[in-house]
């Protein structure tokens, strides 16, 4: 009797979990935990806190995986609505920290509503396309774009370029996978290229500086270029096999700024070298390939586009983060998935993986 109960519990626990996704995610989390240890053990060790974050992330992932896609769909509208309202509240009453209005004070704690939109925007848009699947017209793409543009503009205005890019990318991937015609994509590309000078004038001084220092980091070695110079030195001096765990001089002598959060890849790369980088990239690649396969095999439009969007968002995180740390992209606040210290991003990304699992494991049921 008890044995049967345990068996059922085990079945219930693993029922909607995708093995490959879980394995690769846990591997990356393991690497991340070890790297956070190295990045923080000099000052205040954050390893335990990060392990807690990961546990919470895994629970969230499991929970989301249990929810079938057609039920997930229902969260789209309310989440989106709450998110946008909160963003408007931030715009009106937000707390200003370091010149950016990103936080909303609840008295006892502060929340960052833009994080919600990372999940809400793709859910909302995927639901929107799914609802209009049969009668998909050009105007639906326009409306979807407007639905994307509102939170994007509010976040960019805060300003929080990193989150805006991630939200914008997640929404765009939904529209793209929903079948946005190529001629529109091409047209948008042309318009975007033409808008560059205009956008340039709208950027804040520090944002412009970040882009300029990308072209020549040495132009401002102690200011905006400092992050890039120090992280490329860390990566370059790591060599083929790295300096060894806890032996990175750039890391432990505090030359790398933000070394346990956005710049954790510099720490990893200095201590593990090119070999470690390739392994890490392969892990991310495995995650992305698995996600794309899940998307390709998904049974409904909603499942397809949400899985595609989540997967490419993950890719965007990785590419933008590694690109900025290694000095080929401007510095924007994008964490490295499952590596960077911080609970919010971890939970958001875990929910994304959970969505992929949900799409994968509820497929058969839908077919039946």
């Amino acid at each position: 009797m008890l044995q049967a109960l345990l068996l059922r519990l085990r079945l219930r626990l693993v029922a909607h979990v995708d093995g490959p996704l879980l394995l690769v995610t846990c591997l990356i989390m393991g690497v991340g935990l070890v790297t956070v240890y190295s990045a923080t053990y000099d000052a205040s060790n954050r390893t335990l806190a990060q392990a807690m974050n990961m546990a919470i992330g895994l629970v969230a992932m499991w929970a989301v995986a249990q929810v079938p896609p057609q039920k997930l769909m229902r969260f789209g509208v309310p989440l989106y609505a709450i998110g946008v309202v909160l963003l408007i509240l931030v715009f009106l009453f937000g707390v200003k920290v370091n010149g950016a209005r990103r936080w909303l004070s609840l008295g006892f704690t502060r929340i960052q509503p833009s994080e919600i939109l990372k999940v809400a925007v793709p859910l909302m848009l995927a639901w929107y396309f799914h609802k209009n699947e049969a009668t998909l017209k050009f105007r639906h793409y326009v409306i979807a774009s407007l639905l994307l543009l509102v939170p994007f503009a509010l976040i960019a205005k805060q300003p929080d370029l990193g989150t805006a890019i991630l939200v914008g990318a997640a929404g765009f991937y939904v529209i793209f996978f929903a079948g946005l015609p190529w001629r529109v994509i091409l047209g948008l590309a042309v318009v975007a290229a033409g808008a560059v000078p205009f956008v340039w004038t709208m950027l804040r001084d520090y944002q412009r500086k970040r882009i300029l220092t990308l072209v020549d980091p040495t132009s401002d070695p102690l200011g905006a270029g400092y992050h890039i110079i120090q992280s490329t030195i860390a990566i370059g001096s790591g060599g083929s096999f790295g300096k060894g765990w806890l032996a990175g001089t750039q890391t432990h002598l505090e030359f790398i700024p933000e070394r346990h959060t956005d710049f954790i890849f510099a720490v990893f790369s200095e201590e593990r070298g090119l070999f470690g980088n390739v392994i890490l990239l392969l892990l991310y690649f495995a995650l992305i390939v698995r996600g794309l396969i899940i998307a390709a095999n998904a049974s409904t439009l909603f499942a397809r586009v949400i899985a595609g969007s989540v997967t490419l968002s993950l890719f965007t995180y990785v590419f933008v983060n590694m690109g900025m740390v290694s000095g080929i992209l401007p510095v924007v606040g994008v964490p490295l998935p499952f590596m960077s210290y911080g609970g919010t991003a971890l939970v958001t990304l875990s929910i994304g993986i959970g969505i992929l699992m949900s799409v994968q494991t509820h497929r058969m049921l839908v077919r039946q």
């Binding site: 030195i233 990566i235 370059g236 001096s237 060599g239 002598l253 505090e254 990239l281 390939v289 590419f319």
Partner: protein
């Protein structure tokens, strides 16, 4: 059916299109990751060496360890210059945004006086870039602790333990010892010319004058280095390797600080100079230039009011009169003239002249001090009584060329080569000198009348006290001339080995012994029965001397009366002497500016110096004082 088929195929087409886009995304991901890997290969393989070096440069800094400067002692081991360690509060201006605000903030924690600010501003103007400059020196323990507690408020400010130079005897012998000061641009150039730049990293003081300057590279030592791992904030994390500095070499001087002190006191508040030389070695026993100054004032940057006081004083305490003052020797020139007369064969000792009290030449009357003259004057008497007429005639007969040739060998008008920089040459008059000295042809010509006053040490004659002392020592030493020097030996700080500064004979003058003896005998006569008899009454040793009075300006025939002439126009008093005559241990030249007659003001100083050096006897009234100073 047909509709169903088309709708099915539309759904299929949608799925195909979706899958195509997924595959396309996969390709983009592969390309993007390939780009990242290419970037990593570029950084970690291609440019690995470059970035490794950058990381090492980031990490390791070489911190120079400044060596302790060598100590200077006198011939008896009395310390003249030493080091002591003290805490200073230093600001690195390049690390501070608002200097004034930082100093204002600091003054709330540690007392900072307006004079400290003034000095800091001066240092700031003349400093090298990126060095830290002291805003306060000699912090007390309590002040150090108070700053340490507030340190985080003042980035770019730190407390450093530094060695300071100290001159325990204060103003005594300051012209000989000199002083150190902060390195300025000119010093930097000198350091670079000598290829010592690497060794002076971290050093911020350098010898500016005197022994401190001349023996700078002996005293400095070798800078050590510490390889320190530093973090991004520039804080040293740990030491990786250390090369110990080598302390500078110690110097022992030939100078006798007690003799020096006694001699300086003997001048009282009069301006003047005294150079005492050991004739058998050229070692300087005392090098006096009064008034003196306290070299300690210069060590951590002289305060501007102190500087103004020293620099603008009419007594010019910073002028080293012994080496840089040039004076007509007056009658102290006569023994050398007499020797020249004997050596050139123009005179024999017994040859006498009848002195009417004047000498007429070219329509001009050169007068003797003594109205009516000295009567019949031979060489001995000419020195003992200081007869001018004798030397007017001798000079006229010898001619300027002959006089200049002889005096040049005695070192007149040349640098003696003493181990202090910046010695003056003085003027040894000769037709060639005049040609060099003047531009207009009518001024360049030498007139025979000018030769006449050269004979009594007037006219164009102009020599430094050290030249006079060297010439006196050379006569005392029977023609063997040594280079005057202040350092007796250098102690190698590594081996403890002492390198003696060997007496360096500059010239051996082939004088006939009996000629020299004539001069010495006459100079003994000066101290026994002549112009200095009063000053040397009752001396228990046999000394030889010659008084001199140098005209500061010509009275044009009017009689000179000491008291009626303004002080700065009064004659300079001179005296040269050596003792004991048969085995001279000390030879000296004394000059008292505007002191009047040499016999009155200069000779008594020489007597005190001799009594002290030869007999250990202190002048009356000085004994107790000196004992107090001793401790």
């Amino acid at each position: 059916m047909l509709a169903g088929r088309t709708s099915l195929s539309a759904a299929d087409r949608d799925l195909d299109r979706f899958r195509f886009r997924v595959a396309l995304s996969g390709v983009v991901v592969v390309l993007a990751f390939a780009l990242l890997i290419a970037r990593f290969v570029h950084l970690q393989v291609v440019q690995h060496d470059y970035y490794s070096t950058r990381a090492e440069d980031n990490r390791i800094s070489l911190v120079p360890i400044v060596p302790n400067r060598g100590v200077i002692v006198d011939r008896n081991g009395t310390v003249l210059a030493r080091n002591y360690s003290a805490f200073t509060l230093e600001i690195t201006p390049s690390l501070v945004d608002d200097l004034e605000a930082t100093i204002d903030g600091l003054s709330r924690v540690i007392e900072i006086l307006p004079k400290d600010r003034k000095r800091f501003r001066r240092l700031l103007e003349e400093s090298k870039t990126f060095e830290s400059l002291p805003i306060r020196t000699r912090l007390s323990e309590e002040e150090v602790a108070r700053f340490a507690a507030n340190r985080y408020l003042f980035p770019g400010v730190e407390v450093k333990a530094r060695l300071f130079r100290q001159y325990p005897l204060g103003p005594i012998a300051s012209h000989a010892i000199g002083y150190i000061g902060r390195i300025n641009k000119r010093d930097l150039e000198m350091i670079e010319e000598n290829d010592e730049a690497a060794n002076y990293k971290g050093t911020d003081h350098i010898g500016k004058t005197g022994i401190e300057q001349y023996y700078e590279f002996d005293l400095h030592g070798e800078t050590g280095y510490e390889q320190v791992e530093t973090d991004a904030g520039g804080r040293a994390v740990r030491s990786l390797a250390r090369t110990a500095p080598v302390q500078g070499n110690d110097l022992a001087l030939t100078l006798d600080s007690r003799l020096q002190e006694m001699a300086e006191k003997a001048f009282g508040d009069r301006r003047g100079a005294l150079v005492a030389i050991e004739p058998s070695t050229g070692g300087i026993l005392a090098l006096v230039s009064t008034p003196t100054f306290d070299p300690n004032l210069f060590v951590d940057g002289i305060r501007s009011d102190d500087w103004d006081l020293l620099n603008n004083s009419p007594d010019r305490p910073l002028l080293n009169r012994a080496l840089n003052g040039a004076y007509p020797p007056g009658s102290t020139f006569k023994p050398f003239m007499a020797l020249a007369g004997l050596e050139t064969g123009k005179r024999t000792p017994g040859q006498a002249i009848a002195d009417p009290g004047y000498f007429n030449f070219g329509g001009h009357q050169f007068r003797d001090d003594k109205k009516g003259g000295h009567g019949l004057v031979d060489m001995h008497k000419s020195i003992v009584q200081s007869c001018d007429t004798y030397y007017y005639m001798l000079a006229n007969e010898m001619g300027i060329e002959s006089i200049a040739r002889f005096m040049e060998k005695l070192g007149f008008g040349q640098r003696t080569g003493i181990d202090i920089q910046g010695e003056s040459e003085g003027v040894l008059p000769s037709p060639e000198w005049k040609k060099r000295r003047f531009r207009r042809p009518e001024q360049q010509k030498w007139f025979a009348g000018e030769t006449v006053s050269i004979g009594i040490g007037q006219g164009y004659n102009s020599y430094t006290p050290i030249q006079l002392a060297q010439a006196t020592a050379t006569v005392a030493n029977n023609g063997i001339m040594y280079r005057p020097h202040l350092v007796k030996y250098i102690t190698d700080s590594r081996t403890g080995q002492k390198t003696m500064i060997e007496p360096e004979p500059l010239r051996i003058l082939p004088w006939k012994r009996q000629n020299v003896d004539v001069i010495k005998k006459a100079m003994i006569g000066v101290n026994l029965a002549g112009t200095a008899a009063k000053a040397f009454a009752g001396a228990s040793y046999v000394s030889a001397g010659k008084t001199g009075t140098a005209q500061v300006f010509s009275l044009k025939g009017a009689e000179y009366r000491h008291s009626s002439v303004r002080k700065e126009l009064r004659d300079h008093a001179l005296f040269i002497a050596f003792a004991p005559v048969d085995q001279p241990r000390i030879a000296l030249a004394v000059l008292v500016e505007n002191g009047g007659f040499g016999a009155q003001s200069a000779a008594p100083i020489a007597r005190m110096v001799f009594d002290y050096y030869l007999l250990g006897k202190l002048p009356k009234g000085a004994a107790e004082e000196s004992d107090v100073e001793e401790d």
